[in-house]
Symmetry: C2
DNA sequence: CTGAAAGCGCTTACAG
DNA sequence: CTGAAAGCGCTTACAG
């Protein structure tokens, strides 16, 4: 019960004008004489009037609100992307309705439904699963523009996308290690589809990065060794364990690539605990350039993603779509480049 | 233009019932026979009907949406608190309208106004400035419950608050250092009201922590030395510079307390670059226990804030308020405790 | 420039 | 259980 308060009718009555006139004075549309406007504004202030955005939106057909769906706001990656989104959309007059799915597909479906019912003008989605896009397709069908961010989803060809060139990013990281002379290069990943030749070509960043890793090795004439692939759940402890297992092998890797920032914290810790010198005994590369990567010793070599820009581009793309007012147009795909930042964890020095 | 689509009237017509009946079947309120419900549901599915939440909210007086206003979502502190909020409110059926103010008071005022016009059922606010609460008071007056989080604001005695016992947190940190024998204990802070005896008693965490620092010293019979207070803007670089200045003094501190996690990254780096051994030549304490604090060597001693819980408690508090339906009730104040986690940066070992 | 009327899409009494 | 009517609070043609 948002304690109703005065309506436009009350303001109009107090100002001695018609509601349509009061609406024009307060809403900044149509024509009103300066004198009338003043009287209406005075009456509104006196009564403590606030526009009912619900009623307005119902008529105008626009809520000036966009939905943003992510799997985990507490992850610095999404938090940073989110700030990129708001920095672009807020000045344009749009508010953000946020949903945190925790990677649960059902939660994502519910979020999309609710946002659609609340009549958001569009949504930006970091999907929970690459295989399931029916709910997104339905939203688009209902006239809600969708921009996919960070992750591609199968079955939604109409959606705009803003992603990072993950395959190249991984390739570049491996190339860096090859150049330094490494041949036994391991990887810590949360990708499910392990097998390099799998037919289920993954669409998610971790899967794409894993593919890049495999291909870079092959291009260098090295047959990937499954013993050098450490699979972890998406948390630090699991990455720690996976790293420890790899390092305990009879023929352990001399270099390690982590496909994500969370995994990198676990791997870094494991290498420390194992007592291996970096980069002398083991070279390590992480993903995402977070503040801590230059506080550890040695500093961590990383693949730096343009995370904030991922958000700003997605925001701008959605604003464009909304401005287009649902006119059909072919989907727009933006792919941003990640950049290798070489530091002490790989560079002998 | 969210391409309007079929309305309840269309569904009712297709099902051969009155709109009121169709509404009852679809909305889950009132009484409908099973047979009628089925027919309505079938018609709705056929037409691709989706409820117009705007119209519903206008009548029910509830949007099932809360506003959350923070100064910086990209800061792990707020990102984590935010996830605590959504974890509590989302299962209760509430969506989150997010505003990122960047610490700008005007942006905060606009956000509150817009959220109020969008008829959110309540707001959780991490305020930009402690001195300015008129807009919040006004929201409360209009019937929008307000829960202040992390920071107190003057002039809004009606608001619920969920904060951390910052004075005690700082006191405990200083006590730890005193116990280890330190007498020259410095502080890196972004608090503006520097002077210990200032009459403008700060309400913000940084100011309260600074007060705790001063009082802990005095309680130990040590007169605070202004030369040991390093003031920085709220960023890593500025904290780095401030720390470097302190360490360059003729009689430098032997221990340093940082009143925030961002400042701690700058200070840690400065101590490294200065070539001082921790804790032998300098002991360091930070705020907030982030993943990196156990990756650096030595590990960082910190005051660990219950950040996630700050969010869940604020969420629950707001839900309670909303459930109360605007019935006047005295404000509720929750103060959570921070905990010192002693590690290598202070413990000789 | 101003006003009277219609209507956005629902839910809520009120009858039956 | 079902329906006809009223109404939530605005904006939008349509006249004047």
């Amino acid at each position: 019960m948002t304690g109703n308060g005065p309506s436009l009718i009350d303001v109009a009555r107090a100002a001695g004008v018609a509601t349509a006139t009061a609406g024009r004075a307060l809403g900044g549309y149509g024509q009103v004489s300066a004198r009338t406007r003043e009287r209406v504004l005075a009456a509104a202030a006196e009564l403590g009037y606030r526009t009912n955005g619900l009623a307005r939106s119902m008529i105008t057909g626009s809520t000036q609100t966009i939905g943003v769906v992510v799997t985990d706001v507490a992850n610095p990656f999404f938090a940073t992307a989110l700030s990129g989104i708001t920095d672009v959309t807020h000045p344009a007059g749009f508010e953000v309705l946020l949903a945190n799915t925790g990677g649960d597909l059902d939660a994502e479906r519910r979020a999309i439904t609710v946002m659609s019912e609340k009549r958001v003008d569009g949504v930006i989605v970091a999907a929970a699963q690459p295989g399931e896009g029916a709910h997104l397709k339905q939203a688009i069908g209902a006239g809600v523009p969708v921009v996919l961010i960070d992750r591609l989803v199968r079955g939604v060809p109409e959606a705009d996308t803003v992603t990072i060139d993950n395959e190249h990013a991984a390739t570049e990281a491996v190339a860096h290690l090859l150049e330094l002379g490494h041949r036994r290069i391991g990887v810590i990943t949360e990708a499910v589809s392990l097998v390099s030749g799998s037919r289920k070509r993954g669409l998610f960043p971790s899967a794409v990065r894993l593919r890049g890793y495999f291909e870079a090795l092959r291009a260098a004439g090295i047959e990937p060794d499954e013993d050098l692939v450490g699979v972890a759940r998406y948390d630090r402890g699991s990455a720690y364990d996976a790293t420890m297992r790899l390092l305990a092998h009879a023929a352990p890797p001399t270099a390690l690539l982590c496909t994500d920032n969370v995994l990198a914290t676990g791997a870094y810790r494991a290498v420390q605990d194992r007592g291996l010198r970096m980069p002398g005994e083991l070279s390590l590369i992480g993903f995402d350039d977070e503040p801590w990567t230059t506080l550890v010793r040695p500093e961590l070599t990383v693949v730096e993603q343009p995370t904030y820009e991922l958000g700003t581009r997605a925001g701008r793309q959605l604003l464009d779509r909304i401005a287009d007012g649902g006119r059909p147009r072919r989907p727009h795909h933006v792919e941003l480049h990640a950049k290798l930042v070489a530091r002490g964890s790989t560079l002998p020095g």
